[in-house]
């Protein structure tokens, strides 16, 4: 049994990690920490875990050595203590944005301040198995993924891998996001009276997750526009892409099918019947699946490529557990096979 602990387990990402790890047959949770909830039972913060565990939140300074240490703190914290954390665990998975980018200059450009542990950036593998499965199997340090970046990357991955994109045109991705993406700590914008019923574009250009998409897919001419919608969980990325001249519907089917066959949590959704004909986050709540689909206008070469995920699962804790499985040599889908709810 692999011992694991979570630093910063009182947030939404930490809570989702706990939900997954408590049910995981290969791990034993030793400690979960929270400065603001020290001494409280986990279920008092994460009520869905009542009768699942009698763990209490510990003091982060009293964390003990384990096999795998998860870091689920606010951005900026992990990089300050990474050397200490590495002395406690051979394998670390950091859900924050601290170690996603390979280049310190890129980090400063997108996050607005210098990285405090730039020497560590090159030691981390970007934690998206659909891109780095083989590297993850041998990795000791793995970064989390941005939820919007994950949806964007998976929407584009079939096109990039099959080299179908006309790179002379811009790639434009419109992203709709649920409220849990902004974390467990509220702000004036997440106050119910202000957040309920919105369709609010809060970042037209320059969202930080753009940097991950550029880095991981090697596309420069790309922009992400973020719009908050009236969901708690979920991300829907709608990518507008120009494909190379002559690309047909069957070429796209081949490309998308290939990605779905290589990756256990990617499904092609392009249905001719029923209500759910294209990817939708609604039926993915709580599941680690990423649904991808497309529509091509063959007369113009304009493709709309869509990806839906649960931001807390495939966009965070689910991918992190998937990475852990790979790092430990376990089956990739252990503890992650929940199919999602319908209706919900």
């Amino acid at each position: 049994m692999t011992s694991v602990s979570i630093i910063g387990a009182s947030g939404f990402g930490g809570g989702e990690l706990l939900r997954l790890l408590l049910a995981h047959p290969g791990v034993d949770i030793k400690q979960v920490t929270s400065r603001s909830h020290m001494g409280e039972y986990v279920y008092q913060v994460h009520p869905n875990l009542r009768k699942q565990t009698m763990l209490k939140f510990s003091d982060p300074s009293q964390i003990e050595a384990v096999d795998v240490l998860f870091l689920a703190q606010p951005h900026g914290k992990a990089q300050q203590n990474i050397t200490h954390y590495a002395s406690l665990a051979k394998k670390i998975i950091d859900l924050s944005a601290d170690f996603r980018l390979r280049n310190a200059d890129d980090y400063e450009q997108w996050y607005g301040e210098p990285h405090t542990a730039p020497d560590w950036l090159g030691k981390f593998v970007y934690g998206l198995p659909e891109l780095h499965r083989d590297e993850l199997a041998n990795a000791n340090y793995v970064s989390g993924v941005g939820c919007n970046a994950t949806a964007s990357i998976l929407a584009l991955l079939p096109l990039v891998k099959a080299d179908l994109i006309d790179l002379s045109a811009s790639v434009i991705i419109e992203i709709k996001v649920g409220s849990s993406e902004s974390g467990a700590l509220g702000n004036i914008g997440s106050h119910h009276a202000e957040r309920a019923s919105v369709i609010r574009t809060f970042s037209a250009f320059g969202h930080r997750h753009t940097a991950e998409v550029i880095q991981e897919l090697g596309l420069d001419n790309i922009s992400l526009t973020m719009t908050a919608v009236d969901l708690v969980r979920g991300v829907l990325a709608t990518a507008h892409v120009q494909v190379r001249s002559g690309v047909k519907n069957k070429d796209l089917w081949k490309a998308y099918r290939s990605i779905a066959k290589e990756n256990p949590f990617v499904r092609v959704v392009k249905e001719q019947r029923g209500i759910y004909r294209v990817p939708e986050p609604k039926i993915l709540a709580g599941s680690n699946y990423a649904d991808i689909g497309f529509e091509l206008d063959e007369s113009t070469g304009h493709i709309v490529s869509i990806c839906a995920i649960d931001n807390l699962m495939k966009g965070s804790a689910g991918s992190a557990v998937q990475c852990m499985n790979l790092m430990l040599g376990l089956e990739e889908n252990v503890g992650l096979e929940f199919a999602g709810l319908h209706p919900i």
Binding site: R257, Q272, R273, R277
Partner: protein, 56 residues
């Protein structure tokens, strides 16, 4: 059993024994309706499907 390619998505489809001409089959990959227009050689044609806008 004859093998044939889906007209929509190019998936390989195996026609089960007993399949008849004019029978409508569903592509297991993309879900389109396909009409069997010949068995030897096996050929399919897109069958009309209802269009709908989900009530939007």
């Amino acid at each position: 059993m004859a093998s044939v390619s889906c007209n929509e998505c190019a998936a390989d489809i195996i026609l089960a024994d007993g399949t008849e001409v004019n029978e409508i089959i569903v592509c297991p990959e993309c879900g389109v309706d396909l009409e069997v227009i010949s068995l030897n050689p096996a050929k399919l044609e897109m069958a009309p499907m209802e269009e709908e806008d989900w009530g939007e």
